[in-house]
């Protein structure tokens, strides 16, 4: 039940994708998104993009089924976008039914649009599946560190992010426990109208908030006991290092972007 939710879930591994520097992966994900939008809406371009994504997934050894499972919650949004595109793109109509006139151009546009969203989501999943949340926030902190010059609290922000991520599984477990305890007293979370269900959440949310604040308090004390005082002069257990691997990855990313720009020029 609750334990099944995947939220930026990390699949540990030791592939070349896993070992890339998190900064590289963050930048490449951005580059990949740009590439997706630069690409010409034509079969050749999309085949290249699909091949690139497939290659990356194969390299990361993330089972394709896991990828697809992550897409499930997005099916409705994607389908909605596609349907809108079929009807609202001007062009030669397939048939006319009252005010509805789907077009061939719309159909093609919708297909490309769907593929684009799917590839976009899969690409970002690849980032979170192969990078531990801690590495991700570390990478983000390093990338944003120039902002420290203008007194932007980069370290604090990334610490907040790490802690928030760390607390998700704890709070999920806590929710499960409190739900069981209230169910044992006859609470009903599953039936009834909207109002009844909203009211049924009170016995769950109040203890959950109380315990979240308690945990936050305890964590703050524990951090202070170990003399935490922010980012200044702080060293790291895991230093981030760019290597030849990362240079290679950037080259590959740049090549992909260049290739798709070229294809666009050629109109393919």
């Amino acid at each position: 039940m609750l334990k099944d939710i995947t939220l930026g879930q990390y699949f540990p591994g030791n592939t070349i994708v896993h070992r890339l520097d998190p900064r590289t992966k963050l930048l490449l994900t951005l580059l990949y998104i740009v590439t997706l939008f630069v690409a010409n809406e034509a079969p050749a371009s999309y085949l290249v993009l699909l091949a690139a994504l497939g290659g990356m997934i194969a390299l990361s050894r993330i089972p394709p089924r896991t990828m697809l499972r992550g897409l499930k919650p997005l099916v409705i949004i994607i389908a909605f976008t596609a349907v809108l595109n079929i009807f609202y793109t001007p062009g030669t109509p397939i048939f006319t039914l009252g005010f509805l006139h789907p077009t061939w151009e719309g159909l093609a546009h919708a297909a490309f649009m769907m593929l684009r969203i799917l590839m976009l989501v899969c690409g970002t999943f690849l980032l979170t599946y192969t990078t531990s949340p801690i590495a991700l926030t570390d990478g983000l902190e390093q990338m944003l560190s120039p902002l420290k010059k203008v007194r932007f609290p980069v370290h604090e922000l990334s610490m907040i992010m790490s802690i928030a991520l760390r607390f998700i599984p704890i709070l999920v477990e806590e929710t499960d426990k409190i739900m069981s305890a209230q169910k044992a007293r006859g609470a009903d979370f599953e039936t009834g109208g909207l109002l009844k269900r909203a009211r049924a959440m009170v016995p769950l949310l109040v203890p959950l908030f109380v315990s979240a604040f308690r945990r936050a308090d305890e964590l703050a004390v524990a951090m202070e006991c170990r003399c935490y005082h922010g980012g200044e002069g702080r060293t790291r257990l895991k230093q981030l290092h760019m290597s030849g691997r990362d240079a290679g990855a950037f080259l590959a990313g740049a090549a992909l972007l260049a290739g798709l720009i070229a294809l666009r020029r050629l109109g393919l």
């Binding site: 426990k177 409190i178 069981s180 305890a181 209230q182 169910k183 044992a184 007293r185 006859g186 609470a187 009903d188 009170v202 016995p203 769950l204 109040v206 203890p207 109380v210 315990s211």
Partner: protein
């Protein structure tokens, strides 16, 4: 009457995933009405998973749970009825309190049963009395009470449903010795006064030896021993192999016996040990 019969119970965590783990495997046990049962076992032995089946919080992957001869999973209504008849107090139950006042929190269970207000009021007072919640605390916010008091309120919240079976998962964990003693005394009094079945999960052999009529020992999801405290604690080698201990009085008696003090078998509480040693002295044995 609230007889529990569990047959061929099986429960698997994470079924169908690579992280599959068998939590309960082929457990058969019948608990007649009115018994005081202790459940002991190493951490992760399946005790807590087992008790969550008794009131239908977990649905078994195999086997049945019957209350007075009827399967509690036969219908949704039957499962809900089982929740009220088998009151389950979780570990650290003080973290489930949510109402503005203790009285309202204790009334949550009876309220869900759909009882009339006067009846609920009576039950709150009765439950508060059984659980040892002082009357002036009833109008206070549960958040203003001490840890031990909060736990009493939480236990009262379950007792207020007047369950025929009261199941408690380590109700004394994390309390000071005086708090432990008095909560256990409350539970024993409740058992004596209402004749309800009590099932107590614990790690404290001294307290369970004093209270239980019967002990169930779990290990790796299986029920490995089932008998009176005398029967179970006489097998101290088997218990040690399960990473469990015998009560301290039994251990002391054993050590004295090995040094030649003629103490009888079957000593589980410090009172029994004291009496036995005094008898020995009176008879002039070497102590």
């Amino acid at each position: 009457m609230s007889e529990i019969r569990v047959s061929a119970l099986r429960y698997v965590y994470g079924q169908g995933t690579p992280f599959e783990k068998i939590a309960i495997d082929d457990v058969n046990v019948t608990i007649p009405s009115g018994q005081f049962v202790g459940i002991i076992g190493h951490t992760g032995s399946g005790k807590s998973t087992f008790i969550q089946h008794l009131n239908g919080l977990l649905r078994p992957h195999g086997g049945t749970v019957c209350l007075d001869g009827a399967d509690i999973f036969r219908s949704k209504e039957a499962t809900l009825a089982a929740r009220f008849q088998v009151g389950l107090v979780f570990q650290y139950p003080e973290y489930q309190l949510f109402e503005e006042t203790c009285a309202k929190d204790i009334a949550f269970g009876p309220g869900n049963m759909g009882l009339p207000p006067e009846e609920i009021h009576n039950r709150v007072l009765e439950a508060a009395h059984f659980a040892g919640v002082p009357e002036e605390a009833l109008d206070q916010s549960p958040l203003d009470l001490s840890g031990g008091q909060k736990r009493r309120v939480a236990i009262a919240g379950v007792i207020a449903m007047r369950p025929g079976v009261l199941v408690l998962d380590e109700p004394t964990a994390g309390l000071d010795p005086a708090g432990r003693q008095s909560i256990l005394r409350n539970i024993r009094d409740y058992h004596a006064a209402t004749g309800a079945t009590v099932i107590l999960v614990t790690h404290d052999m001294d307290e369970i030896a004093r209270l239980a009529d019967r002990l169930l020992v779990f290990s790796q999801g299986k029920l490995v021993m089932d008998g009176t405290p005398g029967e179970v604690f006489s097998r101290d080698e088997a218990l040690t192999a399960l990473h469990l201990a015998v009560p301290s009085a039994t251990a002391i008696a054993g050590a004295l016996r090995r040094r030649g003090v003629p103490l009888p078998e079957g000593i589980f509480t410090l009172e029994q040990l004291e009496a036995a040693i005094l008898t020995c002295r009176r008879e002039g044995a070497p102590c």
